[in-house]
Subunit: 153 residues, 2 copies
């Protein structure tokens, strides 16, 4: 499971790098459901919130209004990835079936279910970014998991 | 890992169901990189090809030209899911690091890497489907992993 987090972080950073060349107004342009920069912010926010939730720590409310540049969102992402990585390094199969409740939604979920939810959430939104990248004339970041050296061969 | 295949199949079927109400010409309309029906076909084709590759079985070449209706792609999907499910039920952690080569691409990959590649590939493309669904006035299928009863609570 942790490999898919590493994949998400690796490709997330590729997306940040790609979007450096894009003017801020394009990153903030409303494209129907949202804008490019908000999607990046949202990916980070959702991951970190759930990771805190799994740990039983209170949610931190942050506002997109305070993170309106690519650099700011990237800094947020870097800092949260570091924390999340430390936590995931403590993960064991025993955690899989432990039950969690969080403040922002009803329901009880297993920790394993939440990890998979977070992984899928980010990949899903990057699929949207791929279409929006094409709209502004950019070659999207590949969604390939293979061939990234994540598996040591 | 198998839970994420189950999630993909569950939501894939929800997408098939949603698109039943959409006229064929909309499903086949070129939307830049591709069309809705081709994406569904491609998701099934890529998964099945890699699963056969992992098993050391030769690739089967099928042409989209022969599967130009939603029903035909759904039938293909159903039949391949059945086979894939049987195979994944034989999966054990020992398989993770076994090395595989396939006919359609260079490189050597671990079986674990390939499973994750297939999972991410489908979720990525469904992110695109979500945007295209909105374009034709449909509420996209949720990408949520949580709350689908896949984890027994």
């Amino acid at each position: 499971m942790i490999k898919l987090f590493q994949y998400n972080w690796f490709t997330r950073n590729e997306w940040f790098e790609l979007f450096k060349q894009v003017p801020e107004e394009e990153l903030l342009r409303n494209r129907g459901p949202s804008c490019i920069l908000y999607i990046l912010f949202h990916i980070c926010d959702v991951e970190y919130s759930w990771i805190r939730g799994i740990q039983g720590r209170p949610d931190i409310q942050i506002q997109f209004e305070n993170y309106k540049t690519l650099e700011q969102v990237k800094e947020l992402s870097d800092s949260w990835i570091k924390e999340t990585e430390v936590f995931l390094n403590t993960w064991s199969d025993d955690c899989e079936n432990e039950i969690v409740s969080v403040s922002w939604t009803e329901g009880r979920y297993t920790k394993g279910e939440i990890l998979r939810h977070v992984i899928a959430h980010e990949i899903h939104h990057k699929g949207q970014l791929a279409l929006w990248a094409r709209e502004i004339g950019l070659q999207p970041i590949s969604a390939n998991v293979i061939g990234r050296g994540l598996f040591g061969i």
